[in-house]
């Protein structure tokens, strides 16, 4: 009797599902991922009349037909078709009923207990749309609740309605005669009329339920239908649904003619042929300013604060307790710095997530994608992938996380593999110090060149992946441009908070242990530390890019730079302390530039790696780290050897030739690997099927 009732919230994208979810569950929410995949699973609960109601918020879908749709849609469809929920709450936008009721008709066909929640009644009223709720409920054969979820209107009535479990009163929709015959012919073999209908429609879920014999019959029936009616079965079914919807709406809804809406007037400006692109770039610029400048300011405050508490504070406590050096390195310089690194991302990420949520909720994100789609297509990516690229110039961590807004997994992987090549703010700090020391006159050109090389490498990486492992076009574009909406502050803050929480837990879990390892290796941070010894051992590897053996601090700098790239300069300063500055230690401008090339392109920092792990699979993260380091080494070596060719032509030619050969060998391997069709081993098992 006291068993929990499971509710599933189902609806089209942009129907106000999240708002209703918040209104229903309040603070009692859990965020997590669906098993095995990186799609957010939101669930929560509320108590009504002594019964605990569990609510699962499903990703937005347009149809419950299972095809090779985007991952998050597939999760929603699978959940619905597996009939895991006791009641389905179907949320529809009352101001766009015709489109939204399509999914409703499909759910009614399934015969699941269903409550229809008409959301955005206020918007509908503003558009002069009047809906006869009673008539609509009778016509559809399911309870209907009127809501204005954004203002909390109607939510308690809906909760009441859910307690009296809705009965299933399925009314068959009138179908084309030929289709009806086919359904009846198939029903006895398939098990039910519903399954027969789904088979005719070509639903992958239904096809998994029946034997190959039945599938053969389905193909025959499909051919028969096409012969007699001239249309395919899926179109006939959709046509019947839309006819039913139109008839229902004609009986239950009255609407007066509406004037040009605010949305269409705004779109005339925002999507204007001349203004569209400047407005897009201005918005991206604002995003950048907001996240990097404002968030960056706050970051400094956070940085000083958390350094004081977690690094210096820990160190002081430990030294007072006479703790041994290794313990102090482990806890203060290791764990303390790790916590501090994680925390200092909060302002920048918070600002970015807030702005991104604003773009998404207001409806501009879809417009931005519309305007820039053509340019991004050249890179084999959809329009939305522009955001991570831009954000990457500030910091790669939020950039990788913002790739979440892309629907298809292929697009997400491709974007995330490309973003770390965007030179971030931390790398700019290194460039600034080096150019001041080595290129006092043309510093800006050097930095600009480095940025360009980063972008070129990103494009090259994207191209190589697209032509080997990640073949295929960007997912086809069927994007709704939702009406502009003034988002509620509560929803924006909640989105931001949830994404931030995800970052702190997942990324912190990787950043802190690695920081501890580095702290331990670094010891007192002098020439006697393990890290310094390791650096001395490794330096010969970097000889081909111009780092001499006595310049081992440069190697140590690269190693600590893995933690966070801005640390490179700090390390160099500590280790070079006796000598007179940077310029003594590198092989002039050529040596400095090849070092900068390496710094630009090598190993993404720990924090970026941590979010990559969160967004993708471990394999892709390791691939990215190896690929970037390889590209960095190759580029730096080829540059250095070419620039100093005259000094030692034979060995230079040897190096350039072998790096080039290795590069092509790797590409050839990648193509061979892709041709072997081993994609499955790269994508995690749960996401490949």
């Amino acid at each position: 009797m006291n068993k929990n009732v499971m509710l599933a919230l189902v609806g089209n994208p942009n129907c106000g599902k999240s708002t209703l979810f918040n209104a229903l569950t309040g603070a009692r929410q859990r965020m997590g991922n669906w098993p095995g995949v990186t799609v957010e699973r939101k669930s929560g609960c509320f108590t009504q009349a002594g019964k605990v109601m569990e609510v699962v918020d499903l990703p937005g879908i347009y149809s419950n037909l299972l095809t090779e749709a985007a991952l998050d849609e597939r999760i929603a469809v699978d959940f619905i078709l597996a009939r895991e929920a006791n009641i389905i709450v179907n949320i529809v936008d009352a101001s766009q009923l015709e489109r939204h009721l399509y999914l409703t008709t499909q759910l009614l066909e399934m015969g699941v207990p269903l409550v229809l929640a008409l959301n955005m009644m206020d918007v509908a009223a503003k558009k002069n749309i009047q809906i006869d709720i009673k008539k609509l409920s009778d016509a559809l054969g399911c309870p209907v609740a009127a809501l204005t979820a954004s203002k909390g209107g109607g939510v308690s009535e809906l909760k009441q309605m859910l307690i009296t479990q809705p009965v299933v009163a399925r009314k068959p929709m009138p179908q084309h005669a030929a289709l009806q015959q086919a359904v009846q012919a198939l029903a006895q073999h398939a098990g039910s009329e519903w399954l027969a209908m789904r088979l005719l429609e070509g639903d992958a879920y239904a096809e998994r339920q029946v034997s190959s014999d039945v599938l053969m019959q389905v193909r025959e029936q499909q051919a028969l239908i096409e012969q007699t009616t001239g249309e395919e079965a899926d179109i006939l079914l959709a046509d019947a649904r839309y006819r039913f919807i139109q008839a229902t709406l004609a009986a239950c809804v009255t609407r007066k003619a509406e004037a040009a809406t605010l949305t269409s007037r705004l779109d005339n400006i925002v999507l204007n042929r001349i203004l569209g692109i400047p407005i897009f770039f201005f918005t991206m610029y604002l995003l950048f300013v907001f996240a990097i400048n404002i968030g960056g300011r706050l970051q400094d405050v956070f940085d000083i604060g958390s350094q004081m508490i977690f690094v210096e504070g820990f160190a002081r406590v430990l030294s007072q307790a006479d703790a041994p050096l290794w313990l102090s390195s482990l806890l203060a310089n290791g764990m303390g710095r790790g916590i501090s690194t994680t925390l200092t991302f909060i302002p920048v990420l918070g600002c970015l997530f807030l702005f991104l949520s604003l773009l998404e909720e207001s409806g501009y994100m879809a417009r931005a994608a519309f305007v820039i789609d053509r340019i991004m297509r050249v890179l084999g990516l959809p329009g939305k992938a522009f955001v991570p690229m831009i954000v990457g110039f500030g910091c790669n961590v939020p950039a990788v996380m913002s790739a979440r807004t892309l629907e298809s997994k292929r697009d997400r992987i491709l974007t995330i593999m490309m973003t770390p090549f965007m030179s971030c703010g931390a790398r700019l700090a290194i460039f600034a110090v080096f150019t001041a020391a080595f290129f006092p006159r043309h510093g800006q050109n050097i930095v600009f060149t480095l940025y360009l090389i980063g972008i070129l490498m990103a494009i090259l990486t994207g191209f190589l992946l697209r032509t080997s492992i990640l073949k295929g076009e960007p997912s086809p574009l069927v994007m709704e441009l939702p009406p502009y909406r003034l988002p509620s502050v509560a929803v924006l803050l909640q989105h931001t908070f949830q994404r931030l929480k995800g970052f702190v837990y997942r990324a912190g879990g990787l950043i802190i242990p690695i920081s501890m390892l580095m702290g331990l290796l670094n010891g007192a941070g002098d020439t006697q530390s393990l890290l310094a010894m390791l650096g001395q051992k490794l330096t010969p590897i970097f000889a081909p890019m111009g780092i001499q053996t006595d310049n081992w601090p440069a190697t140590v700098g690269l190693m600590t730079g893995v933690l966070a790239k801005e640390v490179v300069i700090g390390t160099l300063n500590t280790l070079y302390s006796q000598a007179a500055g940077l310029s003594q230690h590198f092989d002039g401008q050529i040596g400095a530039f090849s070092y900068l090339l390496f710094v630009l392109l090598y190993f993404p920092c720990v924090s970026t790696m941590a979010v990559m792990m969160r967004e993708l699979h471990r394999g892709w993260t390791i691939f990215s780290a190896l690929w970037m380091t390889g590209v960095a080494y190759g580029t730096a070596v080829v540059f250095y050897q070419a620039a100093t060719f005259m000094r030692h032509p034979v060995s230079s030619a040897g190096w350039i030739l072998s790096v080039t050969l290795l590069f092509f060998a790797v590409i050839a391997f990648g193509r061979w690997y892709a041709r072997e069709d081993k994609l499955v081993s790269i994508t995690p098992a749960g996401e490949s099927a």
């Binding site: 347009y62 149809s63 037909l65 095809t67 090779e68 749709a69 766009q96 015709e98 489109r99 399509y102 999914l103 070509g202 249309e231 899926d234 179109i235 959709a238 046509d239 839309y242 949305t263 269409s264 779109d267 999507l271 204007n272 042929r273 001349i274 569209g276 692109i277 879809a366 519309f370 305007v371 789609d373 053509r374 340019i375 297509r377 086809p476 574009l477 069927v478 994007m479 709704e480 441009l481 939702p482």
Partner: protein
């Protein structure tokens, strides 16, 4: 006739859908772009692609090349 041949502001009717990419086709069907449906081209993106159409009261954006699975007739 194909969607890519339409100009901004023109009205058209869907005649048929080719099979093409299955999930793309099913998405278009779910959004109501089925034979007999009327739609208007609201605008073309600043760089010439994609286009925005108004169908059954919703604004949709489609890429010209992908939308070529739609056979249409122009009404204006």
């Amino acid at each position: 006739m194909q969607v890519s041949e339409l100009k901004s502001g023109q009205k058209a009717r869907v005649i048929s859908l080719k099979s093409g990419d299955k999930s793309y086709r099913e998405r278009l069907i779910a959004l109501g772009l089925i034979p007999g449906t009327l739609f208007t081209v609201s605008r073309v993106a600043p760089l010439g692609d994609p286009i925005q159409i108004l169908v059954r009261g919703i604004a949709l954006s489609l890429r010209k090349a992908e939308a070529s699975i739609l056979q249409i007739e122009c009404l204006t």
